[in-house]
């Protein structure tokens, strides 16, 4: 619990994360408002998140790569907590908690547009996306590379793949945002779990 506490304090004191969350909220509200004006949707926030999920990806990327910024804080972290898997587990838990905190106001904002209960799948999706970003960050140890890879995948590659192979689309990690079904929820969870496991394996076996 001490590790979780320490990791949470690290994240809470990073200005970059505060800016990311704040800009994500603003952008989501703006795009949701534009979309709502264009055509009354069931859930404008969910629609806007197709673009502004990028903020959650960046949130994940930054929360993982902050350890590898110049000065390599990761060495100090590993001196204090030498066992790597518990450390990564604590990091994953804190990142997920931060994602929930960042997602909650958006879910509440749905009520501002339409009188409908916010979709719980949206929260699950945003946490999964943040964890995918964090896994990319842990794997590449470079914020720019991780951001480029994860953003291109979610913004360009997956939409193209979905258009090309409509039958397999429910197994892509981001279909949950457009169609919520048990399959898409499972797919998103499995993708996040697999990539986090890959990150854990790399983190465990690699030199810091």
């Amino acid at each position: 619990m001490t590790i979780v506490n320490a990791e949470f304090r690290k994240l809470a004191t990073l200005p970059a994360l505060r800016w990311t969350i704040l800009l994500t909220w603003l952008a989501t509200l703006l795009v949701a408002y534009a979309a709502h004006r264009a055509a009354v949707a069931d859930d404008p926030i969910r629609l806007a998140l197709r673009w502004t999920q990028a903020g959650f990806l960046i949130l994940g990327v930054l929360s993982a790569t902050q350890e590898y910024e110049p000065g390599a804080q990761i060495r100090a972290t590993l001196l204090t907590v030498p066992r790597r898997l518990p450390l990564l587990a604590a990091k994953t838990a804190t990142t997920a908690a931060t994602a929930i905190l960042a997602a909650l106001p958006l879910l509440v904002a749905t009520l501002w547009f339409v009188p409908a209960t916010p979709h719980p799948a949206t929260a699950l999706y945003l946490v999964a996306v943040t964890l995918l970003g964090a896994a990319c960050g842990t794997l590449t140890r470079n914020p720019l590379a991780a951001a480029a890879v994860s953003l291109s995948a979610f913004m360009v590659a997956f939409p193209l793949l979905r258009a090309r192979f409509p039958t397999a689309s429910s197994w892509l990690p981001d279909t949950l945002l457009t169609t919520s079904s048990p399959t898409t929820a499972l797919a998103t969870t499995v993708w996040a779990a697999l990539l986090t496991a890959a990150a854990a394996l790399t983190f465990q076996t690699r030199n810091a």
Binding site: A34, R37, V61, E69, L144, A147, L151, V156
Partner: protein, 246 residues
Amino acid sequence: MVTAELRKLLGLPTAWVGLVLGLIAAPLLVFVNAPALRRMADSGQLPDPADVGYENLGIGLLGALILGVVVVSSEYTSTGDDSPGAHQMTSTLLAMPGRKRLLAAKGSALALVVGVQGAVTAVTTIVLTRSLMPFAPSFDPVRVAAAVLYWILLALLAYAITFIFRNGIVTLTLFIVNSSVVSVSYLLTKLTPLAAYLPDIVGAHMFLRSHPADETIPPVTAGVVMTLWVGALLAVAAFLFRRRPA
């Protein structure tokens, strides 16, 4: 100075990722889209073939974008774990103290690389589209030149924004999100028609003929508006670059 900047840019591994990505993405997309487009054309569902081929150029812009970002962010990357404060920009400014000239030299090197990349990609993509789909528009040098100009201006836009924030993540997020299937700028045109004059939307009017937005802007006006955007952002970047400690 331009030669020095060119050698620095082409010595970066990330720049080569951008170069290769920009070169192969658009022609690859032609192959991906060809069967569906041909089916649509055969059944007469293709409303307007004027942009077939040209539409695919958009994805290659990601490559130009990466080049625009890394040409700046590489200067601000820390040189090593043990010297967190040191970055290449210090040495660059020791060698070339004139900051405006440095900005111009970097921009020229970038424009040159992206121009060659854009020209090769655009010609390959259009010729390939034409050979795969005979109903596609024929090779039009003016439109291809406009597309190449769009590439250069967008790369310079990324260059200016990265210079302003001194951080590649802001630029990358902004542009990759906007290059998704339906761009945010396009959504904003629903809010106000003026959003059609945002740089990325107005720029596309230079070489695309059928527009998703209702606004139709003549190609020359589009080019002028986009150049003004780039000029304004470069001016802000130059101002900040001159005033800030390196």
